[in-house]
Structure formats: C-alpha cells, structure tokens
C-alpha cells in the first residue's frame, strides 16, 4: 500500500518512511485481528433456535481483563510509536545541521519566489539573485530554506523530500533538507491559498556538484 509513496530523495525521508511502515504494520495487525474477531463472533454466535445468549456484564475484574489487557497493549504500542516519532521529529525539526546553502522562498498568490543571497551572503538585499518557481540546489548539501509569504498562508511541499512546511505571512520560518539524487521534482503548494491554488507549482532542481557550479557560473557570475 505504501509503495505509492513518491521516491524518497532526502536524508531524513527514510526515517519518516520507516516510521510510517512501523505504524502501518502495527495498525495492519490490529486491523486484521479485530476484523477477524468480529467476523468470527458474528458467524459463531448468530441467532439459533433455542439458544439463549450468555448473560455477561463485564463488570467483574476477571471479565474486565478482556478490556484491560488489549488496552494495555494499545497503550504500550502508542507510547512506542510516540517514542520513535519524537526521535525522527527532533532530527528534522529541532537539531538542524549547519547549512551549506541558504535560499529564500516566498509564497505569493500564486507563485513561489526563489531568492539566493548575493555576495553579502544575506537575503533581502539588492544583490540577491531572484527567480520564479525554480529552486536549484546541489546534491548532498544541506540547504536551509527561509520561508516567507507576501499575502496568505501557503504550504511549501516537496513530496520527494518528505518535506512540508506552512508559510505564514508575518513570520519567517526555516526549514532544511539535503537532497541525495539529482533530478527535477515537484514543488506544489499544499494549503488552500485562493482561486489559483490548484496549479501553484514550482520545481526543485537538484544538480550534481559540477552541474550546479555551471548553473551558478551561468546565472550568477558575480558570486564570490
């Protein structure tokens, strides 16, 4: 079922995917167990002439065990999922590695504006290189993305990187990723942002290191 996932090309996407598989197996087992039990009960205990149902109220402790034991298992599995999730979350959201490249991405109705800092190394100054809808990055480098919005909430979504981050007007939000495979990948907007929401799409272009240098030389000759 999870084989529908787009190809993962980020360093942390694999962690998210394994967590997903982990939950998938746990819930899958529960699904078949509970459905199995329900179907067996429905067939085994369907109404038969002259057979009375058992009078079981489930209020003694031994009977309540039938509720409490599976409940404890559910609780343990829940905490297990949370525990694993917190490690992955911390890796992605809290302990970001230091960056090799800084890029500004600004959402607006209905485009992504991409900005690379110029020689001063700062975003939002006159020497920035600006483009629309194309985010070029080198492979195997940590990219920090500074996200802003000019109007409404947009959501920066890179399915192949398992990265999604809402872009809030009035706030600057940072995200990071490290792409592991060159190619061209979709960069849609995942939050309803107006009548042009459908079709607000950019591209992530991951270059090999050589190609990236060439791209920089061509588009950005003054880079130090």
């Amino acid at each position: 079922m999870l084989s529908w996932l787009p190809e993962n090309i980020s360093t942390y996407g694999g962690d998210i995917d394994s967590l997903m598989y982990h939950i998938y197996y746990i819930t899958g087992v529960w699904f078949f167990l509970t459905y199995g039990v329900i179907i067996v009960f429905l067939l085994r205990y369907r109404r038969q002439e002259g057979q009375k149902a058992a009078y079981v109220r489930g209020d003694s402790l031994t009977q309540a065990g039938w509720l409490l034991v599976p409940l404890l298992i559910v609780l343990a599995l829940d905490l297990w999922i949370d525990f694993q999730g917190s490690e992955v979350w911390a890796k992605i959201k809290i302990d970001a590695p230091s960056s090799d490249l800084l890029v500004g991405v600004t959402g607006k109705q209905f485009n992504w504006e991409i900005a690379y800092p110029g020689p001063d190394g700062k975003l939002g100054t006159a020497d920035d290189l600006e483009m629309e809808n194309e985010l070029h990055v080198p492979v195997n480098k940590v990219v920090h993305v500074v996200l802003r919005s000019k109007d409404v909430i947009h959501s920066f979504f890179l399915p192949n990187l398992r990265l999604k981050q809402d872009v809030m007007p009035g706030r600057t939000i940072e995200a990071w990723f490290e792409a592991t495979k060159p190619g061209r990948y979709p960069l849609p907007c995942a939050e309803l942002c107006g009548f042009g929401h459908s079709g607000m799409e950019g591209s992530l272009i991951v270059h090999s290191l050589d190609e990236y240098e060439k791209w920089v030389q061509k588009n950005w000759p003054h880079k130090p």
Binding site: I26, R47, A53, Y55, V56, G58, R171, F195
Partner: protein, 579 residues
C-alpha cells in the same frame, strides 16, 4: 397515588394546540427532533450535490458535469466549475456536512428525541428554549443559503476559514458571502448551546424515579458528554469568529500581519473547538451503536461502567489534542511531541469502547436486521478511521500526510462512519418509535450493502491518493505531472461516489414509503429494554401515560433467571420475585 405527580405535570402545559402549535412552533421535543431531521436531510442532499460537483471536477477537470447545466452563471458555465466556484464548493461541502448535517442529525435529532424518552421525562427541562434552538438553527440555515447568492459569491476560504485568506476580501474576491458564512456558523452555535444546556439540565434533573446516573442508557451519557464538550470548547471559537468578522468588516487586524495580527491565532482558536467537535459528533454515533448492539445480540453491553469512564476521559483528552492540526504550521517544534502523545493517547478510551462492543457480541444470539447491519458497519468503518488516525497523529509522518488526500480519507472514515452509518443505524432503529411504522427490511438491507461497498470503494482509494502525494483542495490534479499517474484512481473514486450518492435514493424511497405504508410497529418491535420502548409508537405529546419507575440498568438481556431474554427497565417483576 403514584400517578398524582404524572397528572399534575400532564396538566401544566399539555393542552390541545392548533396546527401551527403542534407541527411548526412546537415545544414538544419529539417534534423538534423531527424538524431537525428534516433540516439535516435537506442539507445532506445539498452537501451531497456539492460532493458530486467536486468529484466530477477531480475526475474530469474542466468538463461539464452531467445534470449541472441548469446552474446559472457566475456559479458555473454550462456545467463547468470555475476555480473560484470550486473553492466555494469545498468550503460549503465541509461547512454543510459538519455543522448542518452531522451536528443536527447526531446531536439534535437523537439527543432531542431520545433523552426525555429514555430518562422517563415528559419533555426537555426548557421546552421553549428548545423551540428557540430549532428556530435559531433555521435562521442559521437561511443565512447560509443566502450567503450563496450575494454579490461576490459565497465563502471560499475552506471550511476551516484560515485567515488571512478569509480575513480580507481582496484575497478571494468574496465579501458578503464570507461575512454571512461567519454569521451562519455563529447562529448555529447559539442554537446548539441552547440544545446542550437542555440536554444536561434535563438529564440531571428530570430522570424518572429509580433512574440513577448509572442506569442511564449509554447514548444519554454520550449525548451529555458531547454537550459539555461542545459548551466548553465553543467559547473560544465564538470569540475567534467575532474577531474575524471585525477584521473583515471594520478593518481590525487580529489576524492580519500588516497590522501586527497573527494568522496562527485563528488556528489555535478554531482547532481548540474544531477537534473536540470531532468527538462531539463521534460520541453520539458510538452511543447509537452501543444501544443497538445489545438489543440484537440479546446481551448486556460489556463493561457498562468502563465505557462511561472512557467517555469522560475521551471528553477531557479532547481538549488537549488541538495542535496536531498545526504540526507543519510553524508552531514551536517542541510543542509537537506533547501534542503527538495526547493525540495518539486519545485512541485508548476509544479502543476500550470498541473492545467493549466486540466483547458484547461474544456468546450473543445475534440477528441482523437493518439497524444492526448499519451499527456493525459503523464499527467496521470507524475502526479504519481510528487506525489511520495514528498516522496523522504522529508528527513526523504528518509532515508528509498533512493536507493530502490521506487526511481526507481518514476523516471521512471517522466522520462518515459516525454521521451516515451511525445516523442510518439510529434512523432505522428508532423509525418505528418516531413514526409508528416499520421500515422495509429488504430495501434497508439493499441500502446497507450498497452503502457499505460503495463507501469503501469511494474513500479507501483516497488513502492511495494521499500516499501518492495528492494535495487537498486542488481543482485539477492534471495540472501536476507527478499526480497524473494517479488520475485513474480519481476517475474510479468519482464513479463510486456517484453510485454511492444515487444509492441513498433507496433510503429516501424506503423512508417515505414506510412513513405511509410501513407495517404498524407497536410499542416495542425490537423487544428492547430502554424506556422509550415502554410507551406507544409514536409516543403521545407528553411521552408517557404514566411516568415509569425504573428498577434496573438498560441492558438486562438474557438473564439466566428469566424465561424471556429481555427485561425492560420499568418492569418490576424480577425484584418482586427476588423478595
């Protein structure tokens, strides 16, 4: 002696009323429930039609939807949905289904109809407030309808209405449509506050002699817990809605960053209400199946008290889960873990209720009339909804699934299971009580089989769409190269959805046919124990000819000491035998 009290109460406000007083401006909780039923079914048809247009657009973008060419410009152009109207459709579909179908159907219909009957009262504690609630709800319905036709078009910022998109008209081109949308929802909340107050007061104060809190049918517990959760969570949203309206109408900047406002504030206020709201809808639906399963298994519900405690725990936990809607919104990332834990923990009380339902089937004597089929269907569908909730509850996995069709599939599995399967279960089960006649079993079973199969073929493939990365609320998946391979799934879903909608016609036919031609039901066609079955069908104006006395809990089926396999709550024999 015992009926002196009954006669006194009977005399107070029971007098012959004219047509208007009896059927339109009625204070009778049963009539009010039926009024809510009519309104919610009306809205379900409209919400379903919006779903049809949405699905057509997703399968065959920018082509004319069959049967929709009568809709005039500027809504649609000869049956084609323009992107502005697509956003109106998704906004209205969500608003209608959550606030104008789910809440009235599950809370107002079943709560109003059942609570006084089940606790042995003559009416709600505040009958006039109850009448006011249905009329305020009618007003809310009118305002929402009008909002569709004002210049600039109807609200189109999604049913969650996230600002700044919803806060300034320039972003959507919608002005009065959005204002009226806010007013409609505020009025609807006022209506349900009146209802919730009535539910709680009635249950606590007007129970028949012997009806202790631990002899209440579980649906009553579920309804009043839902009422309390609603009352405690709705305040912040009303405040939030007033602020949004001020932003729009007089130009304050609570949510607009240019003036120092904060869009995230709305999300906190909205979801502080919005997530408990899910349980407000879910609990009454679980209550319905908790009533139905024991009757058709001929067994006491397994773990009556643990279920009550679980319900209360779920109610309390529901207040500390809201921020899981904001994992990717830019809240402090350290907040995600606590909310992930509370969100996944809320599966525990619901798991207990599910286990209790399953244990109720164990060693039962199970029959399968239509209400039981729908009750089991609710359980089966809700299980998938609950299990897939773990994915989106886990913060790192939600990074990927947030705002994709995985979420759409997940909440349709939880809410559709509650509203439609649970609602149908309840309607088939209490129809004989409400209207005095039985519904047709054959039509009912066909309706169930088609609904169950087509529901799954409609919503299960949406998980695949979500896994494939398809975003919510896009009008045209074909605009994205990476989604084009998923398009056959969209076409398949649309086909299923259309059949699912059509098959609901079977229910409509059954409903109206049975209303006039159905077999006469008699007071207790299912041989059930709870008090509503101890009076005639339909019950008289003040419910009981004589207020019943309650001797035991609601689920005493198949007692070893008795020859019959059921023992109504108001039947004294067993106590006397024991003496």
């Amino acid at each position: 002696m015992s009926n002196i009290l009954g006669d006194v109460t009977q005399g107070t406000y029971h007098e012959e009323k004219g047509f208007w007083r009896t059927y339109v401006f009625s204070t009778d909780h049963k009539v009010i429930a039926k009024q809510y039923l009519a309104l919610s079914l009306f809205w379900a048809v409209l919400g379903g039609f919006a779903a049809y247009l949405i699905r057509w657009q997703l399968a065959y973008p920018e082509t004319a939807a069959p049967g929709a060419s009568w809709i005039p410009e500027p809504f649609m152009y000869e049956g084609v949905v323009p992107p502005e109207f697509y956003n109106v459709l998704i906004t209205m579909h969500g608003t209608i289904m959550v606030f104008f179908v789910a809440m009235p159907l599950l809370l107002a219909v079943f709560g109003n109809y059942l609570i006084p009957l089940m606790i042995g009262a003559r009416d709600m504690a505040f009958p006039r407030l109850n009448m006011l609630s249905v009329w305020v709800f009618t007003l809310a319905s009118l305002v929402l309808l009008i909002s569709l036709f004002v210049p600039g078009g109807a609200a189109s910022a999604g049913w969650t209405g996230y600002p700044p998109l919803s806060a300034k008209a320039i972003y959507t081109g919608v002005n009065w449509g959005m204002n009226l949308w806010i007013v409609a929802i505020a009025l609807e909340f006022a209506a349900f506050l009146m209802g919730g107050i009535n539910f709680l007061t009635t249950t606590l104060n007007m129970r028949a002699p012997g009806m202790t809190l631990f002899r209440l049918p579980l649906i009553v517990w579920m309804q009043i817990t839902a009422g309390v959760v609603f009352m405690l969570s709705v305040g912040p949203l009303i405040a939030g809605a007033v602020m949004l309206l001020l932003d729009r109408v007089i130009g304050t900047t609570f949510y607009v960053p240019e003036g120092g406002g904060q869009p995230l504030l709305w999300q906190h206020l909205f979801w502080f209400f919005g997530h408990p709201e899910v349980y407000v809808i879910l609990l009454p639906a679980l209550g319905i199946i908790l009533e139905i399963l024991p009757v058709f298994s001929r067994k006491p519900i397994f773990g009556y008290r643990p279920i009550i405690y679980s319900t209360i725990v779920a109610g309390i936990l529901s207040f500390i889960v809201w921020a899981h809607h904001q994992y990717v919104s830019g809240i402090d990332p350290r907040l995600a873990m606590p909310f992930s834990i509370t969100t996944i923990l809320i599966s525990v009380p619901f798991a207990l209720i599910v286990f209790a339902l399953i244990a109720t089937l164990w060693k039962g004597s199970i029959s399968f009339p239509t209400p039981m089929l729908f009750a089991l269907g609710t359980l089966g569908v809700f299980l998938i909804g609950g299990l897939t909730g773990i994915f989106v509850g886990s913060a790192p996995v939600d990074i990927y699934f947030h705002d994709t069709y995985f979420v759409v599939a997940h909440f349709h599995y939880t809410l559709f299971s509650a509203v439609f399967f649970g609602g149908f279960a309840g309607l088939y089960f209490w129809f004989p009580k409400m209207f005095g006649r039985m519904m047709n079993e054959t039509l009912g079973k066909i309706h169930f089989v088609l609904t169950f199969i087509l529901f799954n073929t409609t919503f299960f493939p949406m998980f695949f769409l979500g896994i494939g990365g398809m975003m919510r609320r896009i009008a045209n998946p074909m605009q994205y190269e990476f989604l084009q391979p998923l398009q056959p799934i969209n076409v398949f879903i649309t086909g299923s959805a259309i059949l699912l909608l059509i098959s609901q016609g079977i229910f409509a036919i059954n409903f109206f046919w049975s209303l006039f031609r159905g077999r006469i039901a008699g007071p207790n066609p299912w041989q059930a124990n709870t008090l509503e079955w101890s009076t005639s069908s339909p019950p008289p104006h003040e419910n009981f000819h004589k207020i019943p006395t309650v001797y035991r809990g609601p689920y005493e089926y198949s007692l070893p000491e008795t020859a019959e396999d059921w023992l109504p709550q108001n039947q004294p024999e067993l106590e006397e035998v024991k003496k």
